[in-house]
């Protein structure tokens, strides 16, 4: 029973091969047959024998029968040629089937390494980020306080005074720091002192140096 099934399968396969050699098979069948023939020595022998039959029929007077080692001879001669070997090795290096998974693995490993490094970097950056969040929070608070301080109407020296009249020094360091960075218009005494400095500077400054003079004039004219 099994033998019959095998025989039928072989017959069908050989019949396909016969049609394949005559270029009378469908595309799909052709590709399948090519795959089979390339790996099956028995089918390859059939190809040789069927070709011999056709050749003998076409050359009724005489027909040389090719030796079975004909193909091996070609292989041997090709292998013996250094140029061929070089090309073959190059091809193998480019297209060998085992190299493809290795390439895939290398790519996957690289991606994994990058991912791990990125995670580690993120971990290291967490405190910094926390600090930055804290700073951002502080800055938000400071901004709110600065808005309050912007309501300052009079400035006693550099001591900021809140609009509600409470003193900014001592208890609230943040407020003091913020006020140091906040622009306040100088009082009259300071303005007079700055004017005197600018005038002296202009008087004794070298006439060949343009920039200090420009700066001094510019500063003075602002007020």
């Amino acid at each position: 029973m099994n033998k019959n099934t095998t025989d039928t399968t072989t017959t069908t396969q050989t019949e396909y091969l016969s049609a394949f050699l005559d270029d009378e098979s469908e595309k799909f069948e052709q590709r399948r047959m090519l795959d089979e023939v390339q790996k099956d020595d028995g089918l390859q022998q059939k190809v040789a024998n069927f070709s011999l039959i056709g050749e003998a029929m076409r050359n009724e007077k005489s027909c040389v029968t090719v030796q079975p080692n004909f193909l091996m001879g070609i292989h041997d001669k090709l292998e013996a040629e250094p140029a061929y070997t070089k090309v073959y090795v190059k091809k193998a290096a480019n297209q060998s089937s085992w190299l493809q998974p290795v390439k895939g693995l290398a790519l996957a490993a690289s991606l994994a390494a990058v991912a791990i490094i990125a995670i580690n970097l993120n971990k290291e950056q967490v405190p910094v980020t926390d600090m930055m969040v804290q700073q951002t929070t502080d800055l938000t608070e400071s901004t709110a306080q600065a808005t309050d301080l912007a309501k300052v109407t009079t400035v006693d020296g550099y001591k900021p005074v809140a609009a509600d009249g409470s003193s900014a020094d001592g208890s609230n360091i943040k407020k003091a720091l913020l006020s140091a960075n906040t622009f306040h218009a100088p009082d009259t005494a300071w303005r007079n002192r700055l004017k005197r400095y600018v005038n002296s500077h202009t008087k004794y400054a070298s006439t060949s140096a343009i920039m200090p003079s420009v700066r001094a004039v510019s500063y003075a004219s602002s007020y």
Binding site: D22, E24, C63, V64, F70, Y84, Y88, Q95
Partner: protein, 191 residues
């Protein structure tokens, strides 16, 4: 012959690096190439060497083959040139005119090109050849007609089905059965 599709697929595979696809091309055409070369050199062993050299040249040049002509036409041209080069090397007298692949296949009386055959090689080739011819003569009419129309006349399956007034599937089956029957007879001689 109409074998270009299969051959082109094989060529594409070889060009893609499937070395054993070339083996199929060799097995398919080795007989024809050797018989073609035998029109130039009578010695069977020399003919085999030249045919092998032609296949090697074809393999090396296959990357540049673009399919402008059929593969076998290209291959036969290589084989003829290789045979001629051999004759030049051996200081043999070349034919005055070039012979292209198809002409060479049709060329029946090329005795002037031949080296002398040895009785041994004549006997070797005749044995299988005779067995094949006898097997064909012994085939039932429908099988013999089908395979003759295919191999000698070069008809397609469709043309054979019209000539024999039967479905294409039947033609396919008849040609296959004819080949199988002949192969069974020559099998012992091939071992």
């Amino acid at each position: 012959m109409g074998t270009s599709q299969t051959d082109m697929e094989l060529v594409r595979r070889v060009q893609a690096g499937e070395k054993n696809a070339f083996d199929v091309l060799v097995l398919k055409y080795q007989q024809r190439v050797v018989n073609l070369v035998m029109r130039y050199v009578r010695d069977q062993h020399i003919a085999m060497d030249i045919a092998q050299e032609a296949f090697i040249k074809a393999y090396k040049g296959l990357q540049n083959f673009r399919g402008d002509s059929a593969f076998y036409t290209w291959l036969y041209r290589i084989a003829i040139n290789t045979a001629k080069n051999h004759l030049v090397t051996m200081s043999r007298r070349l034919p005055a005119n070039d012979i292209d692949a198809q002409e060479a296949e049709q060329f029946e009386s090329a005795d002037g090109l031949h080296e002398r055959a040895t009785p041994e090689s004549e006997m070797q080739k005749d044995e299988v050849h005779r067995a094949i011819i006898e097997s064909i003569e012994a085939l039932p009419d429908d099988l013999r007609t089908a395979i003759t129309l295919r191999e000698i006349e070069g008809f397609s399956y469709e043309e054979i089905s019209e000539a024999m007034d039967c479905p294409i599937g039947t033609v396919r089956s008849r040609i296959f059965r004819a080949r199988e029957s002949i192969e069974t007879k020559i099998g012992p001689l091939m071992d």
